[in-house]
């Protein structure tokens, strides 16, 4: 049954960080309701039965900070989300009750996930989408070895973060970070336009990659295989293109048309770089005003490149980044955005 009222939790209790037990589910739902009210966009977290079901089937692996009396004062998780690779999990859903924000609950959950949960679940990797209106989340992820990979520009509406008072005036960008748990050697067909960026991010010893320039044309006999998901609360449309053929332009038309009709702000296409023709595919997106966000390892099991387009010109000045690696990625992305605007005949003010 959906939790729709707050059950007070006493402040100052001792707690222990532990893997999810089914008895924790009502406490997790209460935690989400207490912190977000009824506004959290994913209903699962308000319904104890759904929290249990998702943990049972492996779509969600919750970690909690539990008091001796069974109250849940903090939560973090790895979970299946947008990545087509079923064994690539997202790291997130961190939430701490306000009276416990000065405790080390979030830190301990982070450590538990990296040191204990990852061994138990055995994913190929973890990715996170760290907000860029502050650097705390990025730093916490870096602490457990996550590497900066890509920048989702102006991804989230500022209203989402207004309660945090973290100075989010414009839409908030997110940094995609990645932890490799079981890397495997892969051939990446690199779009020539983004060769330098690929060499930069895959130079990390976590990745065993052979980078090949992708110059062959799209094949005439391949039909595109893709899935599109809309996130109306964020104004984002995300399309995963596992395979692309010559019908891709019509597919982009269709996605753009529907996005415009629904007032969506951000279009994202994740393109599979196992395709030898990915270079020409990326050119199609570049010709339509898209710019690169960067590379995401193992997104399709093989690697992906993110091509993105924003309805409103993004403000790159408000993107707060922790690491020098992330700042280099931002420089690549901003430069590509500027070029995309020039190609569209738009000059920055």
């Amino acid at each position: 049954m959906k939790i729709n009222h707050e059950i007070p939790v006493e402040a100052g209790q001792k707690f222990q960080v532990d893997a999810f037990k089914e008895v924790d589910a009502p406490g997790i739902a209460n935690l989400f309701y207490t912190v977000y009210g009824a506004d959290y966009p994913f209903e699962t977290y308000y319904i104890p039965e759904k929290i249990i079901a998702e943990n049972r089937c492996g779509n969600l692996h919750s970690v909690v900070a539990r008091t001796p009396g069974g109250d849940i004062i903090a939560h973090g998780a790895i979970f299946r989300s947008s990545a087509p690779c079923p064994n690539l999990y997202e790291l997130g859903q961190y939430i701490v009750l306000k009276p416990y924000r000065d405790s080390f609950a979030a830190y301990k959950i982070n450590q538990y996930i990296a040191e204990t949960l990852v061994k138990a679940v055995n994913p190929e990797g973890l990715f996170g989408e760290a907000v860029c209106n502050h650097t705390t989340t990025q730093k916490a992820a870096a602490l457990i070895g996550m590497k900066d990979m890509a920048l989702e520009v102006a991804l989230m509406p500022s209203e989402t973060y207004r309660k945090e008072k973290n100075g989010a005036e414009d839409r908030v960008s997110c940094l995609i970070q990645f932890m490799s748990c079981h890397d495997k050697p892969l051939t990446v067909f690199v779009p020539p336009a983004y060769r330098e960026e690929a060499e930069f991010v895959f130079a990390d010893p976590d990745f065993r990659r052979t980078l090949l320039d992708s110059v062959v044309p799209l094949p005439p006999d391949v039909t595109s295989n893709y899935t599109t998901t809309s996130f109306p609360f964020a104004g984002v449309v995300r399309t995963n293109v596992a395979t692309a053929g010559r019908d891709i332009s019509a597919i982009i038309d269709e996605v753009e048309c529907e996005a415009a009709a629904n007032g969506m702000e951000v279009l994202q296409f994740f393109l599979n770089l196992a395709m030898p023709w990915s270079g020409k595919l990326v050119d199609i997106f570049r010709d339509r005003g898209y710019f690169s966000g960067g590379y995401i390892p193992r997104w399709f099991d093989t690697d992906a490149i993110l091509m993105q387009k924003n309805r409103t010109a993004p403000n790159f000045e408000n993107i707060a980044l922790y690491s020098s690696r992330a700042k280099s990625i931002k420089a690549f992305v901003q430069s590509d955005w500027t070029q995309s605007e020039k190609r569209r005949g738009i000059t920055s003010p």
Binding site: K14, F15, S103, F104, Y107, K108, T136, K139, L143
Partner: protein, 81 residues
């Protein structure tokens, strides 16, 4: 055995906190007012726990705001032990 504030700052440097930031610290001013943040605090606390083999319970650790606070708390525990 007693420890000094410099023992705490040495531990802070070993956790990867920028040595320039550590060298500039005032020992009796809250760390969060001197360029450290909410992520650094538990990192320091855990490193201090490991170095001295003591248990900083969450309630106590959250009360430790300055370098001097950390040193005084560790000394109190070591003298008890």
């Amino acid at each position: 055995m007693t420890i000094a504030a410099s023992d705490i700052t040495a531990i802070m440097k070993s956790t990867g906190i920028d040595p320039k930031t550590v060298d500039a610290l005032k020992m009796d001013v809250p760390l969060v007012h001197q360029g450290l943040d909410s992520i650094d605090m538990p990192v320091i606390a855990v490193a201090v726990e490991k170095k001295f083999g003591i248990d900083l319970s969450d309630a106590n650790a959250a009360q430790l705001k300055t370098v001097n606070d950390f040193a005084a708390y560790v000394n109190k525990i070591l003298q008890k032990g």
